[in-house]
């Protein structure tokens, strides 16, 4: 039965669309304060070197320079987004570990002088042997990148259940295949930026930062500056995209704060585009070997994985990424016996961090590719194999996941139908083909200590509603979705809702935007807070309607007894009644919500539920390969998508469409090309991600499963959708030209080479 809602489920424009479209929306670099200073960072030109000496004297003497700082002067407190993986300083101490590692910072009255000052800093380096290949870095005798980390392996994880050897013994086909996923840069349109302001009399620091994680940032900043968290306020202005790259504290945050405290003046740092490419974060390159045992009719009996993740110079989200990469091999297919071994290994290269999918795109590519390889070897239809292995809601899950709703099986069939699978697979002329990939993603990842979301809903006497939420909207529409949830819960129009968000000084705590948890966590918190306000109103006016509060309903701006909408009290009148009862205004409801899930690292040793709920989807692609030039054109991409219930279908479509562009980039266009640790293409020109002219026709089929845990049945949308475009495309390339590619990206050069080989073999 399809539920009808007034606000939820409707295609509403983003709550802040107008300021964005008029240019009045404020991003961090748009903030200007009187007396503001400008900061710049000096970065290592070497991949691995000892810092013997830093001479800043000439820089300090340059007129207009107000401060210079090096790693030697900052507190000896490492930081990291995952507390147990802390291994970074804002400015390198003792040695540098990759080209781009920060060595010193300056602040000056303008950018030009700041840049000149950098040129005046003299650094004596002693170059050390460096290692760039993760498979070399893990060996004995490789250069040691972090003291005390043997084999440069900062995390080694193992997860096992069942008996894979037994499963292989019983399999009709056992295949072992190896895959490689390349480094990918998020390339958000807004470069990383921070502005800090310090009140020396009260010792209060305010940092505006283009960040996805205001609360984690506050914690890291306070810890590294060695001041109490209560003295640090982090405010998130509009953020111009993140995709995971703005999860973490960066040198710009620390140094802006540092100089603000030292000079008493506001300080701004904005990264240049090449700094974003080189010295922020990227998707981990990964080598993954998958061994799968299948029955004759295509049922997965067991899977064994060996993964090497190239972490670059520092950890960032390492353990969480590895956990996701591992655990999300357990969905959307039923894997009764599993053995996973994964290693996160340092190299002297740019740092791997969270990037849309967070470890899962690489794993998904491997699994989805191999499914097709094995389907081919067993002479089975890849769509049927996927459907056959689909997990189902309510079934016991070998890893301990609690899957309340699952539209995966359905998604396989719907996607196949939408792309014309039966008519096209294996039947199109040479050069054209269709392929598919399946995926599942959690709604939120539990990361130590900031794991619950809070919300406060305030209703003023004129009916205006203000929602305080810690949720960090980075363009996906988090604030809009939360406003819709609150409006629906209170039965008032969307236009009555105002959202105040992501300010550690005024809004409740929220883990932030990562792991795709905002709609479920922050949405649930907002819903419960709104419900508690509604309860207060109901309790107040129940007598007016001669009913019990439990029998009342709020809808269309009215309050009435269930089933009798014509006998109602308008919402505005109810507020007046509340006010005249001398009950304090604004009406306030507060709530917090925490997922009933375990922390990923606990799940390595025991079964348990990873996420409050899981999205499921199948994406199918049709491609055309130009055999003359090797270029691949993605003609069409369809997604059959189970996100429970889309709170805002227009925003869900937007997430999907953006994900497809990102997936295409991963499959065909993008690669952070590194030569001896140096990024060779750190520009929008040379790191060429898709333009309007590359985009395919895109279609979305919504599968509504109305999840019991998510607010109004919602599950995550927007990160899962970036898991299967790449395998769908590469699987389609196989259908088009009969060549299997197991390494990303699939470039024209690789296609031409493969076609040449094919010709020779004939």
């Amino acid at each position: 039965m399809k539920k009808e809602f007034n606000v939820v489920g409707h295609r509403l424009p983003m709550i802040d669309a107008a300021p964005k479209v008029t240019g009045s929306a404020q991003f961090t670099d748009d903030l200007v304060f009187p007396g503001m200073l400008h900061g710049k960072l000096l970065r290592s030109p070497f991949p691995h070197a000892k810092i013997l000496n830093v001479d800043v004297s000439k820089a300090l003497r340059l007129p207009g320079v107000k401060g210079v700082v090096t790693g030697a002067e900052i507190p000896d407190r490492q930081y990291g987004i995952v507390p147990k993986a802390r291994d970074e300083y804002a400015l390198a101490k003792g040695k540098v570990r990759y080209i781009g590692d920060e060595v010193a910072a300056v602040c000056a009255i303008d950018q030009e002088i700041a840049e000149e000052a950098l040129d005046l800093i003299e650094v004596d380096y002693e170059e050390l042997p460096a290692v760039f290949d993760v498979r070399e870095s893990i060996k004995e005798g490789a250069p040691v990148i972090h003291e005390g980390v043997a084999n440069n392996t900062s995390f080694a994880i193992k997860k096992e259940f069942g008996d894979v050897e037994k499963a292989f013994a019983e399999s009709a086909l056992v295949s072992e295949d190896s895959f490689y996923s390349q480094p990918v840069n998020h390339a958000p349109m807004e470069p990383h930026a921070a502005v800090a302001q310090y009140d020396p009399l009260r010792g209060q620091l305010v940092l505006w930062s283009s960040t996805q994680i205001p609360f984690f940032l506050r914690r890291n900043l306070a810890a590294t500056l060695q001041i109490p968290e209560s003295k640090v306020r982090v405010i998130k202005p509009k953020v111009g995209g993140g995709f995971g790259q703005k999860i973490d504290m960066f040198a710009k945050d620390f140094c802006a704060a540092w100089f603000a405290m030292k000079t008493g003046r506001p300080v701004k740092f904005v990264y240049d585009r090449d700094e974003v490419f080189i010295a922020t974060r990227q998707r981990h390159p990964m080598y993954l070997t998958v061994k799968t045992g299948m029955s004759k009719d295509g049922k997965i009996l067991g899977q064994q994985f060996l993964s090497y993740a190239d972490g670059g110079a520092y950890n960032s989200t390492a353990p969480t990424m590895m956990a996701l990469s591992c655990f999300f091999l357990m969905v959307p297919y039923h894997v009764p016996n599993l053995l996973y071994e994964g290693y996160h290994v340092y190299t002297n290269k740019p740092v791997g961090g969270a990037m849309r999918g967070h470890g899962i795109p690489q794993a998904r590519f491997a699994v989805e590719r191999q499914l097709d390889l094995m389907a081919d070897r067993l002479n089975l239809d890849p769509a049927e194999v996927r459907f056959k292995n689909s997990i189902k809601a309510g079934e016991p899950h070998p890893g301990g996941f609690v899957i309340n709703t699952c539209g995966f099986g359905e998604s396989v069939n719907l996607a196949a139908e939408a792309i014309g699978w039966k008519e096209k697979r294996g039947k199109l002329p040479f050069g054209r083909g269709v392929g598919m990939g399946g995926a599942s993603f959690p709604s939120g990842v539990t990361n130590m200590s900031h794991i619950s979301s809070g919300a406060v809903v305030q209703v003023g006497q004129d009916g205006g509603v203000n929602v305080l939420t810690g949720a960090a909207d980075i363009g996906q529409g988090a604030e809009t979705v939360i406003a819709q949830i609150v409006a629906e819960e209170l039965g008032v129009p969307f236009e009555q809702i105002r959202v105040t968000a992501a300010d550690t000084g005024t809004t409740p705590l929220d883990p932030g935007t990562f792991g795709s948890g905002v709609t479920v966590r922050a949405g649930n918190a907002a819903r419960i807070a709104a419900a508690s306000v509604r309860t207060k109103i109901f309790e107040c006016i129940a007598d007016e309607l001669e009913a019990n509060p439990e029998d009342l309903v709020a809808k269309d701006g009215k309050i009435f007894v269930t089933g009798s909408p014509d006998i109602n009290v308008p919402f505005s009148k109810a507020l007046k009644i509340y006010q005249y009862r001398d009950l304090p205004m604004p009406l306030v409801g507060r709530a917090s919500w925490m997922a009933d899930t375990k922390e990923p690292t606990t799940l390595f040793n025991e079964p348990g539920n990873f996420s409050p709920n899981y999205s499921f989807m199948t994406q199918a692609a049709e491609v055309e390969v130009d055999t003359n030039t090797g270029k691949v054109k993605v003609l069409k991409m369809v997604t059959a998508h189970d996100c429970g219930r889309p709170i805002n279908p227009m925003l869900v479509e937007g997430q999907l469409e953006g994900s497809i562009a990102g997936g295409m980039g991963q499959a065909l266009y993008e690669d952070v090309i590194v030569e001896k640790g140096q990024v060779m293409n750190p520009s929008f020109l040379d790191y060429g991600f898709p333009t309007t002219l590359e985009m395919p026709e895109m279609g979305l089929i919504d599968i509504e499963t109305d999840d019991p845990v998510g607010p109004f049945g919602a599950k995550e949308a927007g990160e899962g959708t970036q898991l299967s475009p790449a395998p769908a495309i590469v699987n389609a390339i196989y259908d088009a030209i009969g060549v299997n590619f197991n390494e990303l990206p699939v470039t024209p050069e690789k296609i031409l080479k493969a076609l040449e080989e094919k010709k020779k073999q004939k």
Partner: protein
Amino acid sequence: MKHVITLKVNGDIHEVLISPNQTLLEVLRDKLGLMGTKRGCDLGACGACTVLIDGEAYLSCILLAMDATEKEIVTIEGLSESGELHPLQQSFVEIGGLQCGFCTPGIVMTAKAILDEEPSPTEESVKRKMAGNLCRCTGYKKVIEAVMSVPGRKEGQR
């Protein structure tokens, strides 16, 4: 050596003291306080800094302010009149042709230049002319839809 130059921006005349090495983007943002035009790469490869110069779409990050005198410059701030959204802006809002909004001013200004020259363009033409405006959020589908839906909008909405 600094120069005093006159820039006409959104109909207003501004006299500014600048160095030759300041781009129009820099002067718009840092001197005139017009923050709507964005710096995505500062190297002319992404379109986020697009403004109109005599009605044509220009990358203000690779245009010297000294070379922008005696021109009609229009930035995103100059599009809406008396607080009303331009039909083009209205279209983007309703169709969802934006997410984070950072590339949006550049995209809207490029779209304006296209539609001013070609009021009923083909989708192919719009895609080709907007290909220099990079967006990482939307996948471009709703951006193109928003531009294509403008010709159908009522004349009364300007």
